[in-house]
Each structure stands twice: as C-alpha cells, then as structure tokens.
C-alpha cells in the first residue's frame, strides 16, 4: 500500500533526522554553543565504528559502548579547555554566539583534517544488520529501524533525565536563563559542560548508527550539521520534543513528496516547510519567546 510505505519510510527517515539533531539541541540550547563542527564529530564517530568493525570485527552496537563514553569525555574536555574561556569572556549572548561560530568553525577543519589524514577522502561504508523486517506487508531495513528505535530510546531517556533528576533540572534551568540559574546556586558552568558533553555523546551515537546504512566520506560532516541545525531551529532551541517532532515532520514531508509528487523536490520541500514554520512561528514549533 503506497500510503503505508510512505508513512513507514517517513518514520525511519524522520527518526534518523531527530536522532542526528538531538545532540545539537543540548549543545546549542543549554551550553549556548553554536557548534559548527557538529557534523564532523558525527562523521568521526562513523569512521570509528567503521574502523572497529572492519579492523577488529567489533559489532557496531558493541562499538557504541566504546565510542559514546569516549565522545562524552572528549566533548567535556573540549568544552572545558576550548570553549569555557570564550564563555567566560563573552559579555552578551550574542557575543558568545559569534565567538562560538568562529571557534567551532576552526574545530570543524581540525576534525575533518584529522579524518582526512587517517582515512583519505574516498567513500566508505560497511554492511551490518542489513536484514529486513516486514511491518504490515512493508519491508523495512533493520538497521534503519534500529536508528529510529534509538532515537526514541535516547529521546525518552533524556526526557526522564532532564525532568526527573536534580542534574537534569539544573540543565533545564540553565537553558531557560543562565543568570537566574546562578542565583539559585546552580553551577552554570558545570551544567553547561555536562550538556555539551551529553550532546557530544549523542552525536557520536547517531554517527555510529547512521554509519550502518549510509555511505560517508570525510567531507560529508557539513551536510549533517546543516540538517541538525534545521531540525533544532524548527523544533525550538533546547526542546527535545520539538526536535523529535520537527525531525519526523521533515521525514514525512520528504517521503510523501517522493511517493506522490516528485522525488526531485524532496529537499526543496524540506526547506520550504522549514521556512514556512519559521514564518508562522518565529521561535520554532516549541520555542519560547525570550525577551
């Protein structure tokens, strides 16, 4: 049935978009770092998974257990060493935005350069969990379903973490207003570092997951950064539910247009949808209007 196919494809695609964007909503929404090197970290994780899988025949799912904590630590370090000085010296939020754009732009080149030196510029991929699951007569690739499953799992886990733990509440408070958060004795810097590192861990997880079914090379990071930025902005900065919804909306739009109108217009429709949402709701689907 075409409509069911389109729905399920939209779901897998949208789930992937949400998964890819979730980390950025934490990094940007809470830690206030507009991370332009985001996609490069995703690609780096994909390469790590590839290397572990082809070199040591380590299952990418097991690879997650290795790569994600490593990414968490690395991102925490990056925030503490490289970005915290910028946060400290920035007088206004806008000034921090400019500084973080500039600094992470440099970081983008460094990460891409390292991947390039290690692996070269050619395309890479590998086959893992390429089996098929039939859902109501529509075949779906297992690895793509897995990515959606993870998106939901991580989204749910994060939601619980943010809403039902003390640390999470602190993170949310920082997202809403860093100055006021300080007044109620929240260590803003620690919370921001934690959020940035969590975001980094998430993007590494998504990199490992998408590497199972996408072909990638060192130069592709920027594609993911942009996709993630669009999802985050469309959903409303710092809002997980918005991120999930925006991702799914884009996925459905893409698959329905491809099925019923013209697959040549998928990306155009995505951008049109994004622009439309912003025109109607200038702060995204779930964004709060901040003074």
């Amino acid at each position: 049935m075409p409509i069911l196919d389109a729905l399920l494809n939209g779901l897998t695609l949208g789930g992937m978009y949400a998964l890819v964007a979730m980390g950025l909503t934490l990094q940007y929404g809470v830690a206030r770092i507009m991370n332009l090197a985001y996609g490069e970290f995703l690609i780096a994780a994909a390469f790590a998974a590839y290397w572990l899988f082809t070199g040591f025949s380590l299952n990418p799912l097991a690879g997650l257990l290795l790569i994600v904590p490593l990414a968490f630590a690395l991102n925490w370090l990056i925030y503490r060493v490289l970005l915290a000085p910028l946060v400290r010296r920035a007088k206004t939020r806008a000034a921090l935005e400019v500084d973080s754009i500039l600094a992470t732009f440099g970081l983008l080149f460094i990460v891409e350069g390292i991947v390039l030196v290690l692996f070269g510029g050619s395309y890479f991929n590998y086959s893992f969990l390429a089996g098929v699951l039939e859902v109501l007569g529509t075949p779906l690739a297992l690895n793509r379903l897995l990515a959606v499953g993870f998106a939901l799992l991580l989204g749910g886990g994060l939601y619980l973490l943010l809403n039902h733990t003390r640390r999470g509440t602190a993170i949310r408070a920082v997202a809403v207003d860093p100055v006021a958060a300080q007044l109620v004795a929240i260590d803003v810097r620690a919370a921001a570092a934690l959020a940035f590192a969590l975001g980094g861990a998430l993007v590494a997880a998504s990199g490992v997951l998408v590497s199972m079914f996408l072909t990638f090379n060192a130069a592709m990071g920027v594609v993911f950064t942009m996709k993630a930025l669009i999802v985050v902005i469309m959903g409303g900065v710092g809002n997980l539910a918005g991120c999930l919804l925006a991702g799914l909306l884009l996925g459905f739009a893409e698959s329905f247009v491809a099925t019923y109108i013209d697959p040549g217009l998928t990306i155009a429709v995505n951008f049109a949808l994004f622009l439309l949402v912003l025109i109607v709701r200038p702060h995204g689907l779930f964004g709060r209007v901040t003074a």
Partner: protein
C-alpha cells in the same frame, strides 16, 4: 577632517589602485589573487553594511551571489554585458525584497538559519527547474571576458561599496540601522521606520552581492547550482567579516586580506594538512584577537594616542557588537 581620518581612505585608494593595475604588470596568478581579494572584500563589506549595524547575521550571501552568476549563465550570451549586470543586480534586489518582507519577525539565530535555508532552497529549486524544464543542470558560460576586465569591474564595484558605506554611515538610514542593532524596540519608539530601514539595507547590499556573482561567473566556464549556491561562500564571507570586525566600514577588509593570504599560503605549502593547519590557526586567531582585527587596531591606536596626553582611556567605545 584631520590627518588620521585621511589615512584609511588613502590606504584604501592605494590598495584599490594596486589591484586595478595588476592586469598591466602582473601575471595571471597575480590577477587571480586580485580577483579573489576584491571579490571577498566587496562581498564581506557589503555583508557588513547590513549585518554589522543591525546585528542580523545573514547566511544568504550565496543566494544573491548565485542569482548573479545564474543571470550570466542564462542571459550572458544573448544580452549585452552591461545590461546583464544591471539585470543581475535587479534580480538580487528583488529576491531580497521578498525575503526581507517575510523574515521581519525573525531574530537572532532563527534569522541566521532561515537565511541559510533560503540559500539552500534556492539551490534546490534552481536544480529542479533546470533538470525538468531546461533539460540540463549545468550551464556553459563562454564569454569573451578576460581576467583583466573582471579585475577592473570588481575594483569599480568594491569602490562603490565603500563609497556607499561611507555615505550610509552619515545618513538617517545608517542611524536607524545602528539603533536597530542597539535595541529594535527603542528604535521603533524613537520613530525610526525599522522595517523600511532593514529592507532597504538588506536588498541594497543583496544587489551588490548579485552583481559580484555576475562579474565573477565568466571565470568558471561551467556553472551548476552546486557551484553557484555553494554555502561555503556564505560562511567564508561571514567568517572574514566577523574576524575583521563588522562594526567598521573598513573592518571586513582587514579580515579578508590576512585570511585570503593564509588560505593561499596553507594550500600552496601544505596541501595534505591544509584542513588541520587552517583549523588550528583559525582557533588561535579567535583566542588571540577577540575583538576582531579592527578592534585590535583601534585599541592599539588608542593606546598610542592616550599615552602622551595621559588621558584616561575610558571613553565610550562605539558599538562593537557584531552579532
């Protein structure tokens, strides 16, 4: 006007004159460098005329630049060159007007990403249109426009951008733009027509970006949407302008010149480690030159001047906020 105020315009004129004579004395490579410099100086300066005072960071530069390039690709062989240039500027201006009208409600990062989305949408639509109706995505530009003509045309455009910027700063419009950057609500209450000011500045600078795209296009022979609407151009312009200092008219140029030279030096000497070295130098610049090169220069001058007079250097700084 005192001597110090004259130094910068004079330096600018000398630099432009140097670019303008490269075709007469320099090699093809020198001309190439001149074109690269002029292109980014004019793009970044035009960008900063709107984004500098208002604080609206635009990533739509390449949308207009690409419109200009495409105008040449489509009309270049049928219409006389000056008319093509005029049309390119008009198209850029027109699209910017429509976009400007629809984005007035957006602020901050929402505006940034919106403008980025706009450029990408443009690329996708052009691709789709070309693929389905023109029967081919790439277009060939075979025009007898030599490098020297490109250099001269770019020099003229760069000069025009600077003159315009200088006039703008002294006009009511310029004041209105600066007020928007300080506080849009206050600007509105003071009776500034903020909508009008933003629109005029946005579409006016867009016309220049389209013009620059049109002038440079004949160098590439082949144009497709991926080339004409490459987001790298937007980012490069943004980074160069921010690095130089978007709050000053001459700021972006101060960012462009060292960065173009740096890019050139690194890619000529370290083709395999270009990315890493560029990234490292870039981060070093961000940490060591926090207020942009214009800010650094000004602080230096300030110190030199205030020393003999022993005056406290606490005079109010002009709006440095480039966001």
């Amino acid at each position: 006007m005192n001597g110090r105020q004259l130094v910068l315009p004079l330096l600018g004129i000398v630099a432009l004159a140097a670019c303008a004579v490269t075709p007469l004395v320099g090699s093809g490579y020198a001309m190439s460098m001149a074109i690269n410099m002029l292109m980014f100086v004019s793009l970044a300066t035009a960008w900063a005329l709107f984004s500098g005072p208002t604080g609206y960071i635009s990533l739509a530069t390449v949308a207009f630049f690409g419109i200009g390039a495409y105008t040449v690709a489509v009309l270049g062989e049928t219409l006389p060159w000056p008319l093509v240039l005029v049309l390119a500027a008009l198209f850029g201006c027109g699209v910017a007007l429509v976009v400007g009208l629809s984005t007035l409600r957006l602020r901050g990062v929402y505006f940034v990403i919106f403008t980025f989305g706009l450029a990408e949408l443009m690329r996708q639509l052009v691709t789709w249109y070309e693929a389905n109706y023109a029967g081919s995505v790439g277009r060939f530009v075979f025009l007898d426009i030599g490098q020297e003509q490109i250099v001269w045309q770019l020099t003229a455009v760069t000069a025009a951008v600077f003159i315009l910027g200088w006039l703008l700063k002294r006009s009511r419009l310029g004041l209105a733009l600066r007020m928007i950057g300080d506080d849009e609500t206050v600007a509105l209450h003071c009776g500034a027509n903020t909508t009008f000011a933003k629109l005029i500045a946005f579409s006016g600078t867009a016309a220049f970006m389209a013009l620059i795209g049109a002038i440079v296009a004949p160098r590439w022979t082949y144009i497709d949407p991926t080339i004409a609407f490459s987001p790298v151009v937007s980012f490069q312009v943004l980074i160069m302008a921010l690095l130089g200092g978007a709050g000053r008219l001459y700021g972006p140029a101060l960012g462009v010149i060292p960065l173009v030279l740096l890019f050139e030096y690194l890619s000529a000497n370290f083709p395999n480690y270009f990315s890493i070295l560029l990234g490292v130098t870039f981060m070093a610049i961000v940490y060591l030159v926090p207020n942009g090169i214009a800010g650094l220069l000004e602080a230096q001058l300030e110190r030199m001047r205030s020393k003999p007079a022993a005056l406290p250097a606490t005079r109010p700084q002009p709006n440095e906020d480039a966001s």
